[in-house]
Structures are given as C-alpha cells and as structure tokens.
C-alpha cells in the first residue's frame, strides 16, 4: 500500500475515534493573541494583572448563546471588578456560517452592548488548543504570577431555559470559590450546545 495513503487512513481513524475533550483542569492555559472586533489584538498575557479570566467560546446565531447572553454579561459585570473579566472568542468558520463574520460580530456586540472583547479565532487554533467543542463553552483561568492554569471547564449554570429556575450557577460558583482561595467544585460540567463549525 502507498505509504501516504496508509498514513492518511491511520490519521482519519484517529480523528474518528478520539472525540475532542476540553483541556483538563489543572493544565496550563494555552496562550492566545487574537483580533478583537475593534481591530486591536488581545492576548492572554494582557490579563497578567488580573486574578484570572473567564474565557467563553461563543458565536452569534446559536440559540444557547442567545439564551445565556444576559447571564454571560452579568458574569462579567459581577466579576470583572473582582479580577475575573470575561472574554468572548468566536471559533466558527464564517464561510460555513456567515452570521459569524467579523462584521456580524461587531453588530452583535454593539446591539447587545458587550462590555468585554469579542475575539475572532480565525485560524481555529485556539479553540482546538482548549479542546472546546461547542458554544457557549466556558474556561475559567486562574492567574498565578502570570501563569494561567485552567480551573474550570463547562457550562454557565444548570438551566439554559429559565434563569430564575437555576439551582447551580456553576461558573459563578467557580469564580467565587477561586476568589475565596478554593478549587471549584464541580470543576468540570457539560451541556448541550452548538457544535463549533470547523473549516473544511
């Protein structure tokens, strides 16, 4: 058998059998430098003076993002003053999903008054480094002298449909635990979300 074909088959097999998983809690947070909707570049190292960062992979059209949008803004408004600001990263291929173009992201951020950066993961390297699979997906990073480690991965809370029926505000509890010097519990949760649109 042709060697290249063989390698291709093996690689395809590996891709099919290993389903993507979020980077595990406790590992070093992958660095990023991405373009914001205002044209500036935002990097993880820009947050070196914060206690941590709430990174949320998000997008425009996903109904779960829409259901959670107010709650994600509220997370920022509550925790940015305490050293945990939110940053949105849009990982979707906008060829497949034109609603996620830079222009549409700008419109969305302006219509919904995003108080945080909304970055475009154009090369789709960052979401893969984090092992994100859906939007919205939250990664809470803890800053220890400029070293960012992953402290929580998962969802925002336990009720996407009804904010008033939430019993476990996971993300908010995780930040509160970190602020109190504790490890979040649970430190990983899952939720239904919109699969990230990967470039063909």
């Amino acid at each position: 058998m042709n060697r290249k074909v063989f390698i291709l088959i093996v690689l395809t097999f590996i891709t099919f059998t290993l389903s993507a998983q979020p980077i595990s809690v406790g590992s070093q947070a992958p660095d990023f430098s991405l373009e914001n909707i205002d044209g500036t570049i935002v990097s993880l190292s820009d947050y070196a003076n914060e206690k941590g960062v709430i990174v949320i992979f998000s997008c425009n059209p996903c109904p779960y993002v829409q259901a959670y949008e107010d709650r994600m803004i509220a997370l920022h408004n509550e925790f940015a003053p305490q050293g945990y600001p939110v940053v949105f990263i849009n990982p979707n291929d906008d060829v497949q999903q034109p609603e996620d173009s830079m222009e549409k992201m700008r419109e969305r951020a302006s219509n919904s008054n995003y108080p945080f950066p909304y970055l475009k993961d154009r090369e789709q390297v960052v979401y893969q480094a984090y092992g994100a699979t859906r939007t919205p997906e939250v990664f809470i990073l803890k800053n220890e002298q400029g070293d960012f480690t992953v402290a929580y991965t998962g969802t925002i809370d336990d009720n996407y449909k009804d904010a008033s029926a939430v019993e476990e505000p996971y993300a908010s509890n995780a930040v509160k635990a970190l602020l109190a010097g504790n490890d979040p519990d649970p430190s990983a949760t899952v939720a239904i979300g919109c699969g990230i649109k990967k470039k063909n």
């Binding site: 099919f16 389903s19 993507a20 998983q21 979020p22 059209p61 996903c62 109904p63 497949q96 999903q97 699979t133 859906r134 997906e137 998962g154 969802t155 336990d158 009720n159 996407y160 449909k161 009804d162 029926a165 476990e168 996971y170 949760t189 899952v190 939720a191 239904i192 979300g193 919109c194 699969g195 990230i196 649109k197």
Partner: protein, 172 residues
C-alpha cells in the same frame, strides 16, 4: 312530507359523515407528525434496550446546521433497511416552545418518517454523561447500539460513513 323527511335525514347523515371524514383526516395529519416531549428519565430506557434490534439514536435540533444536513441520511438509512431490525430515533434538542413552529414544520418539509421525540430536560450536566461519558454536549451526536455493539459519535455523518457502520451490523 315523507320525501322532505327523507331528504332532511339524508342531508343530516351526509353532513355528519363528511364531518367525520374531515375529523379523521385532521387527526391523521396531526398524528403523522406526532412528537412526544420527554425528560431524561422518560428517555433513558431507550438507551438500554436489550433485544436483537440495532438502535440508531441521533441527537439533533432544527437550529443546528450540520444536524439538518445529515437528517436526510437517517431517512435514507431507514428506507434501505425497511423490514430489518433497525430502529432509528431522532432526538430533537430544540426548545419545547419551538415544537410546533419549528420542529414539526421541519418534519413536514422533509417528510420525515423516522420517529422524532423532543428531549426537554435542562439538567443536561446530569444526563449528558449517561448517554456517553465522553460527550461534551455538542451536536450532532449519534449513538448506535444493539447486539453487544455500542459506538458513540460526536460528529456529522455522511451517508456512506453511516452505512459502513450499519451494514456489518445488519448482516450478522
């Protein structure tokens, strides 16, 4: 007078009869796209059927582009194995308030014949790992099981990929 009575009676009968037909037709078209709304507790037994049927359980939603793209492949799969022990269940994760306006509309548009249920359970952190412990909740996702076989795929399928999995299972 007799003739008048006869005419009246036949008119009444006729109108009753035609109403009956209309009602029947109405019931038929509704039940054709009957979608049961369930929570995870009601849904879970469908993940654990222990008979000689192969179950294909696809998690989808009308708002999910890749899901909609693969829906026709699951229809095609059903047609291909008609009369065989293959059961396809399409589990919609749409919001329950979108059942009539989106889910049933979509089913009508595609003339979907596979059974559809709507899983309405916001406690997804609890039930997602019970479907598959590696599932992060991204859709589309498909569980194929039966006769000692079990595979979970969090990906968009092409028809030939589906067929490659199902064909050997059906020829056993």
């Amino acid at each position: 007078m007799k003739a008048l009575m006869l005419i009246l009676i036949s008119l009444v009968t006729l109108s009753l009869y035609s109403r009956e037909i209309i009602n029947q037709e109405a019931t038929k078209s509704v039940s054709e796209y009957d979608v049961r709304v369930v929570d995870f507790q009601q849904f879970q037994p469908l993940l654990l059927k222990g008979n000689d049927t192969i179950y294909v359980i696809n998690f989808w939603a009308t708002w999910c582009g890749p899901c909609i793209r693969e829906v026709p492949y699951f229809e095609q799969l059903r047609e291909e194995y008609v009369g065989k022990k293959l059961k396809i269940l399409m589990v919609s994760l749409d919001m329950s308030e979108d059942l009539d306006s989106r889910v049933i509309q979509f089913m009508k548009k595609l003339d979907m014949q596979n059974e559809v249920i709507l899983l309405d359970d916001p406690q997804s952190n609890l039930w997602i790992p019970l479907v598959d412990e590696k599932w992060t909740g991204a859709i589309p996702a498909t569980l194929i099981y039966g006769n000692g076989f079990r595979e979970f795929h969090a990906k968009e399928f092409t028809f030939s990929e589906l067929e490659q999995i199902i064909e050997p299972l059906m020829s056993n």
